[in-house]
């Protein structure tokens, strides 16, 4: 049976993981390769690296990082942050990334998702959406999510997810901005609305603090994968422990 995926997410800057990982006994907690290896051993199903300071000048550092991860890690990983053109996508894929996440640039360049999907295949194009609740049952897309709460744009998030899937996105990574950082659980209503609106897999993001939150993301949010950062990085819960918890509750996971 296809399992639900647990995906740790790392913020990186200048080729280093920021926000130190506090629980694993690592020689260098900022080294993406060492972390990737450790999380692979922990039972992570995929990894996501978000370059929070991506810029054209820092491109070479990012590429070197992707290459060294790909050299050592034999599970899929996604790279996001600063992906603005099909050429950026090509560079990341050729360096060894399995997928790229496109966020702001998808909103600003209407053809990017379609072009990238046609050229490289839907399987490697993840559209990341940052969404904030604007009214009951309605969420507004925000761009530049990493910068001071993001910039609202006049696009409905659920509608946008559907359009991205139509354009060829192979997966939607949906972050509920109201829940993000709270560790009080994912925005389940948003996750579910997106999951029901698109025919492609959906990754829930933002708000995970307990194994129960992941269970809810799968059952109530109908997500295919759950992404989390702090809960794993701070050692609050181990990946295998979360997976055990899910398995005991009949959620199919890879143990």
């Amino acid at each position: 049976m296809l399992t639900r995926r647990i995906i740790p997410c790392f913020d990186v800057a200048d080729g280093r993981v920021v926000k130190g990982i506090r629980f694993l006994n690592l020689r260098d907690a900022g080294d993406p390769v060492e972390l990737a290896r450790a999380y692979n051993d922990e039972g992570a199903d995929e990894l996501v690296f978000l370059d929070i300071r991506a810029s054209p000048e820092r491109r070479d550092t990012a590429i070197d990082m992707v290459r060294s991860i790909a050299d050592e890690v034999f599970i899929p990983f996604t790279v996001g942050g600063g992906i603005r053109s099909p050429e950026d996508v090509r560079q990341m894929l050729e360096s060894g990334a399995d997928k790229v996440a496109i966020n702001t640039a998808a909103v600003e360049n209407a053809d990017l998702v379609r072009e990238a999907a046609e050229r490289f295949g839907s399987q490697c194009i993840v559209v990341a959406i940052d969404a904030k609740r604007s009214a009951a049952g309605s969420w507004q897309v925000h761009t530049y999510g990493g910068v001071g709460g993001g910039t609202p744009v006049e696009i409905d998030a659920v509608d946008w997810a559907g359009r991205c899937a139509d354009a060829g996105a192979g997966e939607i990574l949906i972050t509920g901005m109201d829940a993000d950082g709270t560790q009080e659980g994912y925005d389940l209503e948003l996750t579910r609305a997106v999951s029901e609106a698109v025919p492609v897999p959906v990754i829930a993001s933002g708000g995970a603090g307990e194994p129960e939150h992941m269970y809810e993301a799968f059952v109530k949010g109908k997500a295919d994968a759950a992404l989390a950062a702090s809960i794993f990085h701070f050692g609050t819960h181990r990946i295998r422990e979360v997976k055990q918890y899910l398995a005991e509750r009949d959620i199919p996971v890879r143990l």
Binding site: M1, T3, S95, Q123, G170, E171, P199
Partner: protein, 207 residues
């Protein structure tokens, strides 16, 4: 041992190459079909769409050399699109003629489940084969695909996976082995399959 990875411009070569290195051999990644002439093992990887895969294979002059290579009886490994391309026809984006080495079609999931079939799923070993040495029945592998092969000859199916339907996730016939999943992205079990493939190739070279 001369291990050749066919580069026809379709992604994930880096991972496949690293998996082969991990198994102890340095492969040659090449877009030059003439290297297939004295290759002792050939791997055709691939992600993306069937039409592109076939048109890229044609444009880069690999179609006949791959057919000749397989006909020569030397070990061949196809991965993902490299598996699908072995069949006669793919329905991806219309009807596309593939290599036609194995009878059968490549069809789309139409079971109402999410497509692509993306993530870790189990492979049930239906027929023992040296490629599975040290791989447990029911091991998890990483899949990303929207289409799957329907071999006309059920005898070629050595591994099966469930996703709304039961489909052929590993096939083998004579010197051919092919997987729908990505062993280079499937952790230990996948690396084991690369090691097994190289072992098969080393043994074939001795015989």
């Amino acid at each position: 041992m001369k291990v050749v990875i066919v580069d026809f411009g379709a992604g994930n070569l880096h991972s496949v190459s690293r998996a082969v290195v991990n198994a102890g051999t340095r492969p040659l990644v090449t877009s030059n079909p003439s290297y297939l002439e004295d290759a002792e093992a050939v791997i055709v990887p691939g992600v993306g769409a069937a039409a592109d895969t076939m048109s890229n294979l044609r444009a880069s002059g690999f179609v006949e050399p791959i057919r000749d290579y397989i006909a020569s009886g030397r070990p061949f490994l196809g991965v993902c699109m490299g598996q699908q391309a072995l069949f006669e026809v793919s329905e991806e984006g219309g009807e596309h003629e593939c290599l036609g080495i194995l009878p059968g079609r490549v069809v789309r999931f139409s079971n109402g489940l999410k497509v692509p079939h993306m993530g870790w799923n189990q492979v049930r070993i239906v027929k023992q084969h040296p490629i599975f040495e040290g791989v447990d029945d029911g091991s998890y592998f990483y899949f990303v695909h929207s289409y799957y092969p329907q071999p006309a000859d059920p005898d070629v199916v050595i591994g099966e996976t469930e996703y709304g339907v039961t489909f052929a996730s590993v096939i083998a016939r004579d010197n051919i082995v092919a997987t729908q999943f990505h062993p280079e992205k499937s952790g230990e079990a996948g690396l084991r399959m690369y090691a097994n493939f190289l072992k098969i190739a080393a043994t074939a070279g001795v015989a």
